[in-house]
Every structure is written in structure tokens, then in C-alpha cells.
Amino acid sequence: MVESTANHEDKLKRIRPPESGAPFNAVEDIIYRRRSVRYYLEKQVPDYLLRRILEAGRFAPSAGNAQPWKFIVVQDKKMIAEMEEQVLKVCGWVKRFADYLGPGNKHKEWRARMLMRLNPNNFHPFPFAAMKVMAEGNLSPWHGAPTVLILLADKRSPGNPSLDVGIAGQNMVLTAHSLGLGTCWVSFVTPLSMFPKWRKRLGIRYPYTLVSSIALGYPRGIPDGYVTRETHAIDWFSEDGTFKVVY
């Protein structure tokens, strides 16, 4: 509706790129300031804000415009607590099986190595350490967020459905931060799909797969802000046929 009233000149003005060295625009600023929030207020997110966020997910790009996502909103405190309990239980099993850091547990190191080799994504040293911290009761998966968005992907979709769901999720995350809310990507939801009980309760059945989840709520303090981060090598095949690496 806004689009139809704007004339062509206005549209051109909107898409004209800025000069070199210009300050960040609003979208860039939200992207650079976004920090994962791990400390939430009890206050529930009102429905209109949540609908606004979900709407941003709906307009994400996807392969073949197949829109292979399904979003589940969980605001039931009891249900979130039960989900956390289940995830913590799985973390406890992994810790018991392969935590080699405690005294007298050195013989378990080969098990940890085996897990890391067989499934380097789920047992990468970082999530491995996070599982240990969780199993020891020092960290809860959803950080006490009042709302949890669970993201499912439709397996039958073209290309890479999980990627499309990720793009939709990032749209929602950036929108949430622009509205003053806090979010955190939590993929520790995926163990839930191992349990028939949870598959049934969340409606995860063919063709849906559990991809990830987003914790959502009002942050405590002001967590958003710029940080320093490693630059990455970018290989650049230039127009004149030369090659360079920029950082």
C-alpha cells in the first residue's frame, strides 16, 4: 500500500547508493549492533510485536520461492521448562559418556574424540564445552527467555531448505533487535527431535525437520553494541584479471 502511493522519483531516491565513507544506515547499524542476548526480563513479548517479527520472516528470500519454513511459538513457561529439562538430560548423557575433564576421567577422552570425528558439527569443541556447562547446571538452553520460536524446515523443498529457514530466522532476529527486543539462536533444540514424545507434541513429522530455535524477550541491560571481531580473508578475482586477498 505504501508502495503504490510512492512515485517513481521517491523509489529512485531510496535505492541510490551512498557515497564512499558514508555513515552506516539503519539496517547496517542493527546488523552491527546485534548481540546474542542471554539474560531476559520476565516480561512477556506482546502479541503485536511477535506478529510483526514473524511477518518479517515471511518475506525472506528462499529457493524457488518455496518458503520451506514453519514457525512454532512457545510462550508456555511450563512447556519451555520441560523442553529445557529434556535438553539438559541429553547433555547429561553426553557428559557422562565423554566428559574427560574431571578427575579420573582421562580414559574417556577417546570417546569424545570419536564423537567429534563422527559428528563434527554437533560435537565441535565449542558446543561440547557448552554441553558440559549445561549438564553442570550453569546454563539453561533458552536463558530464561519468555518466548521461544522454533523453526522447522520442509524437507521436500528445492535447494537447501535449512538455509532458507536460517535466512527467514535472521530476518526475524534483526527485526526483533530493531524493535528493542533481544534474541539468541539456540540450536540445542535439535535433540528434542530424537524423542517421539516431543515429535508428537511439537508436530515434527514428515515432511518437517527441526532446524533451530530463537529465544526472544526483553533484554536485561542494554546488550546491543559494536564489538571487535576477526576479519576473514576474501579472495577477489578482479575485473582486470588480477587476484588479490582482502580482509
Binding site: G21, S36, R38, Y39, L101, R113, T228, H232, D235, Y247
Partner: protein, 107 residues
Amino acid sequence: MPEYLRWKDRIKIESFQKLGDDFVMGKVAIDQDSCSGCGLCVPACMPRSIEMVNKKARMVTDLPLCMDCGDCVAICPENSIKVITFVELKRAFRFLDRGKPEPPRRF
């Protein structure tokens, strides 16, 4: 040109027993004078690497699993936290093609 992992590197998996050799974990410097002791950085830190001692924040000494996400830096109302060491994995999970750290840049 892109970096690769050789077989020699891929065979060995990092061990948490060998912090320093296999891992260089992240490290933040907390300015003890300007720290107001609000405690926001403690829950903000996912691997629980910051603790409060005598109303001042400091990094835990036993197993700091800091991965320099910068959440503590961003949440600190007094700007007393600074990331000084960036995480480095040295064996099979080594990060490739990384340059030196920078804040968001304008071009």
C-alpha cells in the same frame, strides 16, 4: 590463496587437557577500577567465564572457555571490558583464513 588443512593437522583433535597447546581460549581484560559491579556480564557470558569477586567482575581461572563473542563488551555499561585474546584452535578444528580483529568498518 585459501588456507587448507594438511592430513597431519586433521588427524589430531584438540584436547581440553591441553589448553594453550591445542587451544588458545579467548581472554577479556576487565578494568577493575571502572567496574561498577552491576553483574550484567556474568549471565551474558555463555560459557560462564566471568565471575564476581568482591563486587568486581573477573575472568574465571580454572577453565575459561571464552570464545570472544563480545557480549560482555557490549553489555558493560561502564565500557570496562575489552577482548584482548581471540580464540584459536590449533589442530583439526583450526579456523582458516582469518585476519586481524577489527570493529565494524566503513568503506
